[in-house]
Amino acid sequence: MEADRHRWLTFTGALTRLPHLAWRFGLPVLLLLMGHNAQAQQSVVRGFVTDASNEQPLQGATVVLRAADTIVSGTVTDGDGYFVINRIPPGFYDLVISFVGFAPGTESLVLSDGQIRDVRVALAMQAAAIEELVVEADAIGGITTVAAGLETVLPKAINRVPVPGVSGDLASYLQTVPGVTVQGDRGGQFFVRGGAVDQNLALLDGLPVYMPFHVLSSYSAFPEELVDRAAFYTGGFGARYGGRTSSILDVTARNGNKQHLAGSISVAPFLSAITVEGPLVEGRVSAVFSARQSFVEELLPNLLGQRMPYRFGDRFGKIHALLGSSHELSLTFLDTNDRGDIAGSKKSVFGDAQAAIVNDSTEVAWTNKVIGGTWIYRSNRIPIVSRLTAGRSQMTNAFGPNRAPERTASVESMEAGLRMSWLLDKGDVSVGSMLRRTDLGYTLDDLFTEFTTSQEVLTELHGYAETTLDLVQDHLTVNPGVHVYALIDRGQSWIEPRMRLSLWPTGREGRHQLNASWGIYHQALTGLTDERDLGNLFTAWITTPEGQEAMQSVHGILGWNVQIQPWLSGALETFYKNYDHISAPVFSPFPRFTTTLQEASGTAYGADVRLSLENRPFLQESVLDGSISYTWSTVEYQAGPYTYHPAHDRRHQLSAVVHAQKGDVGMIIQWQYGSGLPFTESGGFDVWYRLTPDVDVATEAGVDRIVYAEPFGGRQPTYARLDIWLERQVERGRYVSTIRAGALNLINRANLFYYDLFTFSRVDQLPFLPSVGFKLELR
């Protein structure tokens, strides 16, 4: 305790000295970095690059400053479409902006001494636009890095992965990412490169969404229409993120069209949606609103003999305002609801009578509410961007009958964070901090469980500093950083070094790119589920038990990207994750949810390879693109006397998506194959007594007990699914109509979702399921 206290005092002391230290050491460094600029009174050009059709920022656009035929300087836009070029001598220049799929834009500039010139360039899409790059470089502060473990996802990529409906959804896209294991097509439980579900953090405009996936796993709160871009880190994330030990999904929502009214309406049995966006003040303030609702329960309660007891939906809103040349303000709102009977298709291998025993107790429901805002300030004097984010996130989860759930849990957090970035010529330096207070609670009142309730509060302070620098004539990009994570209530803190780097051995235009990332991560929140119950979607959130270290993970990722042909690229990544101090439920032999914990540790490692096809012409006037990926990985935990492979240890995974387009007709074929997930087999049932000489076994009933076999010693059957979709899109001016028809699980394979060991009944994933949807867009 004394050592902890000393460590805490040292940490808090350091915090209080931060302003002084920053003034004493940081300012000279900053002045040194910018000194040349200040001394020579040279000029600055900065601004935004947007899509002319809807004023959405274009991330990764190339910005080049030319004087006559000479390139003076260049950079790329960040996630807000923002760029800055410093240290420009006075003179005449051409600013040339280009982005794949858009006609280049040029602006002539006359710069005088010390001038700061703001520009705003809107690029128009080319008439015969080449398809957008769907997995592109990460642009942070003007530096492009294709980083290990990171995929930046654009709406076009989301659209290419089919779901039962017309629009794409980020949830479906993520299922094609190597290293992502999904428990089944219900519940949205994602496991990323060996991490558990509760070790993932999903952010919407910087605010956490605790359970972002819908009850049918193809859907999430992030549909194609609302996503501007998403950064998905399967590990090795940088210093700006903290509090989670497996993955980060950082979604930025669209700001809305600032030029004219736009929107879409789509009708499909699984999910129908309406989206409206447009200017509130033309060119300056925009809004986007969306509402989606499933009607499958009402319209198709028994689709081809399959019960569909699922109801879910979400509402989203965002207002974005440009306030002068330096300020931006956005407000975001999200509300989701899910309810479903996970055992809707339960069938007993010994007859329906057994299945009926538990059918009424497998209903699960959850809601999310997120509200918050971001204020961005770009200084007119120095190249600093400040971003202040504040908001509130809430999640509730219930298990059991709708009106009287047996288990309930909730998480509610409020947070405020500030990030400041100094934009340099060859990179940036960022510092930030975030304070989050989280209220956690659960109540358990199952048939087999003693009434248990818990309420906790956790106050976390995050601080970080990181820089992104281009070195060795732009052959090398390094992104070192450090994250400080402190639990204020407990006086605990950790320093977490992070490093990401990319190397282009033959230059950025070359074919090869090597990536690496490494970091240490801690997490003080644990989402308790019963991993042995594969159908259990109830999560009770708790803090790390007193006296136990917070969960810790060390990540290491190495990757190699190669452009084999202009239309064919390949990627190979290997990863290693080590986990310590995991709070896992004990292996209770009783059929009940338990909050009694045991400490576990584990390792996960593997490799994945992916081939991506881009715009490959074939046949007559047709274009083919898609990807095929294979992942091999292994996850091993140790808890008590057991060493085992947990429920998300999918050893082999293959995924292929092929999209063929000819004219206005497209076809998408998706095939997924995964080796069987581990599960704990049953050794049968018996009864347990704590037998003493005072126990009369002739009159006392004892307690029913399941005799589990070795933890996770069995393997489920393999998983495979083939989906096929046809679509036709017709454009009439600004109106675009799309009809998409197809089927999930074309060969009607009985993929196991979970097996109820208590009734020996199985729940399969969705069978052959035809669907048709229609969407009308106003662009």
Binding site: S682, R690, F760
Partner: protein
């Protein structure tokens, strides 16, 4: 044309891989553990009883004697390995208070201290679960080390009792025989054993003879309320102590307080090819007479007021 061919090839490969796999799953994996048994041999009883639960796919939930689970494929024997005698146990489908039924087996025989018994539960296919217990007995005749009673400053009387040489002591009771009552009407007052023996392996008990008078008076008022007097003097004619010990295989269960550990199948079990506990008890009793002089030292006689409220 290369690309379509490759795509077709991939699709065909995918379909063939998909189609070849079997999706059947049988999550039951148990071909080594056949029965769970709970019970113990008690030398104080003629009828011995154990509960037997077949370890099967489904939990035992018998709601009527005609249900499938009401029939059990099991024969139960004990064999006394010390004198080589065997006993066949009789099955009973016992109805509990909650209306459900359980499988019990009974056998009538005198359990002998120091003898080793093996319980066999055998299916028709000759698969068997078995457990062995040796009925514990005290190591010597001079077992109790009792000191003279001590009158304390507050006039209360205590007596120190030491029990050496016993590892697995389960319970301990003081015995009082009231003068003029039958031997079978002795008063037993339980004492909570300490957490374990002392450094020399001896269990130490301190009888609070004065406090135990409350139990004796309560018993007297309950059984002698029909006599005509309002009050009556009462004294002791004998006293003693009794304790029970459990066999070595069973005793570790009492040293563990973590219910999750205890409930793990096989954590504390002496059943081969099964789960549960088949134990045995040993009992040791020592009694001694009380002279009138000693009775006075112990605080007797005492007066019982039959009109006082209970």
């Amino acid at each position: 044309m290369q690309i379509p061919r490759m795509t077709t090839l991939v699709l065909l490969l995918a379909l063939s891989l998909t189609a070849c796999d079997d999706t059947f799953l049988d999550p039951f994996d148990n071909d080594q553990r056949y029965f769970t048994v709970y019970g113990f041999l008690d030398p104080t009883r003629l009828r011995q009883t154990v509960r037997v639960i077949p370890v099967t796919r489904f939990p035992e939930d018998i709601q009527g004697p005609a249900e499938g689970q009401a029939f059990i494929d099991a024969r139960v024997y004990t064999r006394n390995l010390t004198d080589s005698t065997s006993t066949l146990w009789q099955h009973e489908l016992k109805r509990l208070e909650d209306g459900s039924y359980i499988h019990l087996y009974h056998a009538d025989f005198l359990v002998k201290a120091g003898h080793t018994y093996r319980l066999d539960i055998i299916r028709n296919d000759e698969k068997r679960a078995s457990a062995t217990t040796t009925v514990p007995r005290p190591p010597s005749d001079a077992f109790i080390l009792s000191e003279a009673p001590v009158v304390q400053e507050d006039s209360s009387v205590i007596q120190q009792i030491a029990v050496p040489g016993v590892a697995a002591l389960w319970d301990f009771e003081a015995i009082y025989l009231v003068e003029g009552t039958n031997y079978r009407d002795r008063v037993f007052v339980p004492y909570e054993p300490p957490s374990g023996p002392d450094g020399s392996g001896t269990w130490q008990f301190q009888l609070d003879i004065t406090a135990d008078q409350d139990s004796i008076v309560a018993r007297a008022r309950r059984f002698m309320r029909t006599q005509p007097l309002d009050t009556m003097p009462l004294t002791l004619s004998a006293m003693g102590v009794q304790f029970r010990i459990v066999d070595d295989a069973w005793f570790p269960l009492f040293r563990e307080s973590d219910l999750f550990k205890l409930s793990q199948p096989g954590y504390v079990s002496n059943v081969v090819n099964g789960y549960g506990i088949f134990g045995s008890l040993g009992i040791h009793r020592e009694e001694w007479g009380i002279t009138p002089e000693l009775a006075r030292t112990l605080g007797y006689p005492i007066t019982v007021d039959f009109d006082a409220p209970f």
